[in-house]
């Protein structure tokens, strides 16, 4: 049996006039992520990127909208599908692509790779590769803010695939018990790798898990980047002002497979096409046009993204590889322990 519910909706963002310049800024971020991901896919095909590559294409509104609700000193922790989150949090395209290329100029000196993007300066505390394992860690980041009497908030992203594993439940349980300033964001893209929601969860409404922990919750389709910002913003304020966590479930959709090796044969072309027609990035672009943000300005903005991406690709191509001297000092701070 599937239980569905709609939690009380927060004040509609449409009630207040839209800040067009802000929307343009968010659109630019989404477009940047899209273009960086497309370049990554190309680079993967030509062997510049190795290992696993999980693209964020289709889900941009989630990361961009949610992070728009943060202050720069707020922290973000996420999964291995972390490129879009890192860019939205402020990592440069150069730093990101150089990391994917495995270069010394990458955010983690080429040691982390696609799944492990860290940027201390921008409070991006990493992408993690073990499903659910980063959720307690994110709670610890929030714990530190509370311990230090600071009003910093932590956002923790994960997919609906993480909802079945212990780390999710232990994290939520402790965050609710200790009233940690954290927002849990479930990016429900309907597939845990190749397995649809209906075959992984007995209750498809992920947000209901919050009820069991006495935690606030929200649930909506992440079609509109401004709505994402507003609704995550409400949860961020709850964390900042009331030291109370929230579980926010957003329905979203990835347009590519789970990773580059996944042809996504478990879903139909019709299903994919339907979702592509609701592409949140395209919707944001259309919205800008209806708000009299002229095509010429949008094109200029897109050209600036193309230049930024081309520059980042060139930078990554031309950057040096790390040598073995980087290995020991990044394993231990201080003398190596052997």
């Amino acid at each position: 049996m599937t239980k569905e519910s709609s939690p009380p909706a927060p004040p509609s963002p449409k009630a207040s006039p839209v800040d067009v310049e802000h929307l343009a800024h968010l659109y630019r971020q989404m477009f940047l992520i899209r273009r960086v991901e497309e370049e990554s896919a190309r680079a993967y095909a030509t062997g510049k990127i190795g290992g696993f590559l999980h693209l964020y294409i289709g889900q941009e509104a989630v990361g961009v909208g949610a992070i728009a609700a943060l202050r720069p000193d707020d922290s973000v922790v996420t999964t291995y599908r972390d490129h879009g989150i890192a860019l939205a949090k402020g990592m440069s395209a150069r730093s990101l692509l150089a990391e994917l290329w495995g270069k010394k100029t990458g955010c983690s000196q080429g040691l982390g790779g696609s799944m492990h993007l860290f940027d201390k300066e921008h409070n991006m505390l990493g992408g993690y590769g073990i499903v659910g394992g980063h959720i307690p860690l994110a709670c610890g980041v929030a714990f530190a803010a509370k311990y230090q009497g600071q009003d910093r908030v932590t956002l923790c992203f994960f997919g609906e695939g993480a909802v079945s594993i212990g780390g999710f439940h232990e994290g939520l349980s402790l965050a609710a018990l200790w009233k940690l300033p954290i927002v849990f964001i479930c990016e429900n893209n309907e597939y845990a790798m190749g397995t649809p929601l209906s075959r992984t969860l007995s209750v498809e409404d992920v947000s209901l898990k919050a009820d069991a922990y006495g935690m606030a919750r929200d649930r909506f389709v992440a079609d509109d980047v401004l709505e994402v910002q507003a609704r995550v913003g409400a949860a961020v304020e709850r964390a900042r002002k009331e030291q109370a966590p929230t579980l926010v479930e957003m329905r979203t959709y990835r347009f590519r497979g789970h990773s580059m090796s996944d042809p996504a044969k478990y879903r139909t072309q019709t299903e994919l096409d339907e979702h592509k027609q609701r592409d949140p990035m395209t919707r944001a672009r259309e919205r800008l046009l209806t708000l009299e943000y002229k095509e010429g300005r949008i094109s200029a903005l897109e050209r600036s993204v193309e230049e930024e991406v081309a520059d980042a690709v060139k930078f990554a191509d031309e950057s040096p590889e790390p040598d073995t001297s980087v290995l020991a000092p990044t394993t231990y701070d201080g003398a190596f322990a052997y």
Partner: protein, 330 residues
């Protein structure tokens, strides 16, 4: 001149935590029953009263969850001490320690540190059965990015824990339920003890016994028995397993030409195997006998008291092993 007091092992650990918490606001203790209950083994007795619930934090039974919380807090610059009621329970937090604590500095290219201490009783106690008697150091010592320490005496427990709390890397501190009441001299104003320095706790010439934690006491007892038979062995207490004090080990074996490693837990791929490898590599030309290990028998720990004692290394088994080498016919 500083005074010397007799402290129990648990009191030495407690003093280390209290002194470091007094010294550094970023240090806090978190674990099951560490506060109101005063510690499952009374290591943290009185600490809740002294520091309050902000810094002595009782947790629900969720090792993976609270280990992860400690790691995230450490990445933000705090210095958590995470108590496992026993290291056996760390198995459900193994992912946190292996994949997050030990790797976050490396994965972030050196941007984030994880200055955290995980501590608690390890190995066997007395008839606590199969699932509460595992020696976990063999799993942890293999992981680069971690430091692993296993003191045998109160003074080392205090000095090494102080150093662990000040270390900028994740540290695994293995205690033993059977050692908590053991007393020993601890000087006042003890400074942190540097990792990677083994101690010769009994000098001798016939053979080198290498041990740590509870097994150091077993090795010393064996050495006493052997002395009555005219066999004069040297006993090294490793104190820290990672880093490992190769120099002290090698120098001793160069002197005695024979070596036995005694540890709890299974021998396959364990700390003893690592030491045997290093000794044969670094002191091959000095060896006059194979290196032998005295470890837990290669089975799960039985509940039955007699069988349990048969599984855990005893002084008798150590003596027999030593004699096989000393009286070895070539």
């Amino acid at each position: 001149m500083s005074n010397v007091r007799q402290l129990r092992f648990r009191e030495a650990l407690r003093e280390a935590m209290i002194e470091e918490m007094d010294r550094d606001e970023r240090v806090f203790l978190l674990g099951e029953e560490v506060g109101h209950y005063q510690g499952a083994y009374k290591v943290s007795e009185g600490m809740l009263d002294r520091f309050g619930a902000r810094r002595v934090v009782d947790t629900p039974i969720a090792e993976g969850g609270f280990a992860g919380i400690g790691i995230g807090a450490a990445m933000m610059g705090l210095r958590p001490i995470i108590e496992f009621m026993t290291w056996n329970f760390s198995a459900v937090a193994f992912d946190q320690i292996l994949n997050n604590a030990s790797k976050v500095r490396q994965m972030s290219g050196g941007q984030f540190n994880c200055p955290i201490v995980f501590r608690g009783p390890n190995g066997s106690a007395k008839q606590v059965g199969s699932q509460h008697s595992t020696s976990m150091e063999h799993f942890y010592a293999t992981i680069p990015g971690l430091k692993v320490i296993a003191p045998a005496f109160p003074v080392d427990a205090k000095g090494l824990l102080k150093a662990a709390i000040r270390d900028d890397n994740p540290v695994i501190l293995l205690e033993s339920e059977t050692l908590y009441s053991v007393k020993g001299d601890v000087p006042d104003n003890l400074e942190p003890i540097e990792f990677g320095r083994a101690q010769i706790v009994r000098p001798g010439s016939a053979l080198t016994i290498i041990a740590y934690s509870r097994m150091t006491h077993v090795a010393l007892e064996a050495a006493d028995q052997l002395a009555t038979e005219g066999i004069d062995v040297e006993v090294i207490d490793l104190r820290t397993l990672r880093p490992l004090d190769e120099e002290t080990i090698v120098r001793s074996v160069q002197k005695t030409h024979r070596c036995v490693v005694v540890h709890e837990g299974w021998s396959y791929g364990g700390v003893g195997a690592e030491i045997a490898d290093r000794v044969q590599r670094l002191a091959f030309d000095w060896l006059e006998a194979p290196i032998l290990r005295v470890a837990q028998l290669d089975v799960g720990m039985p509940y039955n008291a007699t069988l349990e004692q048969a599984c855990i290394p005893q002084p008798g088994r150590v003596c027999d092993t030593v004699k096989r080498l000393v009286f070895r016919e070539t």
